[in-house]
Symmetry: C2
Subunit: 436 residues, 2 copies
Amino acid sequence: MPEYTFLDLVNAKRLGHAHTGDEIDFIVKSVMNGSVDDCVVTAWLMAACCNGMTVEETTALTAGMAHSGTVLDFKNETRPVVDKHSTGGVGDKTTLVLVPLLAACGAMVPKLSGRALEHTGGTLDKLEAIPDFTSELSMDRFVAQVREIGAAIASPTADLAPADAKLYSLRNRTGTVDSVHIGTGSVMCKKIAGGASFILLDVKCGNGAFMQTKKRAREIATMMIAVGRALERKTKAVITNMDQPLGNAVGNALEVAEAIEVLSGGGPADLKELCLVLGALTLISTNLARGEHDARQKLGEALKSGAALTKFRQMVVAQGGDPRVIDNPSLLPQAAYRSIIRLPNPRGQWWVKTIDAKEIGLIAKQLAAQSGSEHASAGVVLHAKVGKRLREGDKLATIYGACAEDCESKAARLLQAFHFSEWTVRKPRLVLDVVE
Amino acid sequence: MPEYTFLDLVNAKRLGHAHTGDEIDFIVKSVMNGSVDDCVVTAWLMAACCNGMTVEETTALTAGMAHSGTVLDFKNETRPVVDKHSTGGVGDKTTLVLVPLLAACGAMVPKLSGRALEHTGGTLDKLEAIPDFTSELSMDRFVAQVREIGAAIASPTADLAPADAKLYSLRNRTGTVDSVHIGTGSVMCKKIAGGASFILLDVKCGNGAFMQTKKRAREIATMMIAVGRALERKTKAVITNMDQPLGNAVGNALEVAEAIEVLSGGGPADLKELCLVLGALTLISTNLARGEHDARQKLGEALKSGAALTKFRQMVVAQGGDPRVIDNPSLLPQAAYRSIIRLPNPRGQWWVKTIDAKEIGLIAKQLAAQSGSEHASAGVVLHAKVGKRLREGDKLATIYGACAEDCESKAARLLQAFHFSEWTVRKPRLVLDVVE
């Protein structure tokens, strides 16, 4: 029995003191065994939000939560075990591309993903647009699939980092989500429990991300890397621009179709480039490639040869989905109505100056939720991104909805999410920083 | 309906933003009508502890809590209505002296007091050592008694500042008590609801107080004064030394006996002096005296003439207590056993250097709680205070307990609460600062 109570630790954190590793373990154990009132745990959470935690405390919290349940083990594998995490953005379907692409290049990618949160989509929601695809795998089946084909994307089961699940639910209802330290613990504990030996973090930054500023994105990237290294996992982070949606498609089925395009060697330039940047960094870091040139060549070959698409197909089949959508995306859910938005500005030429990513995300979400049920087919496809030159009447975007009213009611809002300039606008930088 | 939710306000306070008066009102109302989960309220409390509040926020919180229930009204009175508050210390029985003393000098003193907290005693617990004395008055009876004899000391009823009671209970179990701002609100809302026009604050500072440093004491005194003035109550504060117990007696019945001594013109010098300082400040501030000299003369006369003791007697009678204890303190509960502690140091002369007030308070509390029930008779009486010169075998203190073992078991601890010097030690300053 420790000489302190949970309340002593609340008081210490209120005063800004750092906990020892044993004290953090005591906190995680108390949360797990339910010996402490939720209000007292909330008091600690808020004190930690306000006064922060050291790298050592965050590391102990991460390890404690990771070991509060099952920890997956790929230790007898010679292939590197890779996990990739995005902090969330609008139109971010890189996971759908990268998991099969990296598997095709020799990595094992056991990817435990999440659901849609606020204005951002969820990888599992997107994949479930594929008829009969299931994200709910037992951890045994998940591990077996990864060993067999190198790739799986599923929902974490209840016995994976359960302390984090308990704390997250409390954080979510008490306004204590926004903490670099507890947030780092929450992300990293699932990577540790998921068995990764290399962790790649895509920290999104900008209007459509949860981190609005580069400073804040850098702060969380640095903390995650420090914790990953302290727990002996090779960890790297890329800070990427989320001021406009990534790629063109926003919406579950639309994004699956776009991911398939990229896996087939096509797709929007920005999405493809980000997949190559993240992929190359992974291949180099795990010694699957000798350098940038070699890595890009291997990735390009996997796309060109169809190897990446084959991995995707194997994964879809293994998880019960209909693989015919891969060759015929029209078998994905199709929206009943669509409406094209065009540039209304008269005379001369215009450039797209900004596209409000968060607003596009919210519009897509509302389209999907309308008419009383979830429509995987709904969403928005952009035909013009920032920096594109346009003339009157050129297409800006297409709205996909369950009925004509849904589409029409969003048209004005969608148009207002675009801002134009009479002068040339340069394409924005996609990769803002690499943090190692 | 406001445009924000309680959770929005939690997030704002987490980020260190200040609330508007309307937002604070919304918080108080939400606490009162139970529309918000205790965990969410706790999150707000901790954010306010960590990030603080402005004077305007603290004032709004004080007013909101004061008006969450009954507000006493002495408006048609010509006598000034005085409230005195001590932040709590060991051996602090000034309220027992000051309430009748100020009433004898022409003030009305409706005093709503509290119970023992941690190592400090409670005014109500002390008074209830008088046989049959009751602290539980209806607010109508309380007001009537104050109008009639000028003095009453009672427990606040449940309809007095109920929002504070709700918040305090939550703060107490979640480690969110220690906040200058919410603490100020908690004290001042009861003064406002109690109907005072002049508020005198005795902010204790030192080892036996809740504020350990003068800086912290000054901080809370300044905030209380700012809030009092913003709510149009004349407010003054005195910061006083609580590094050793006040007076000689620590323990409920022992302290009543000592208060009666002071009201009879005798008593320990430090206790008497503090009563005169606080009393003079009150009489001057309420225009009951023209200056320090006049005030001291009036207070001295009230003690010498027996007028103050008469007020005390009237108050005891009005609240059902046995007034015979006033002339014959041996009618107060008497401890079955007592044990005298003497200076063990051999040869030469010694000076008392420090007396650990908190430890004395804890010893007295444990003596009272021993043998399975509360013993109002138990406690400690000091025979030597800081600065006193002693020789081997001189008396330091007497322990009063329910049985011989209780007394003996505390003897060594009590002795260790004293520290001695071979060199002269000056008497410590009692009044450290007056904040106006």
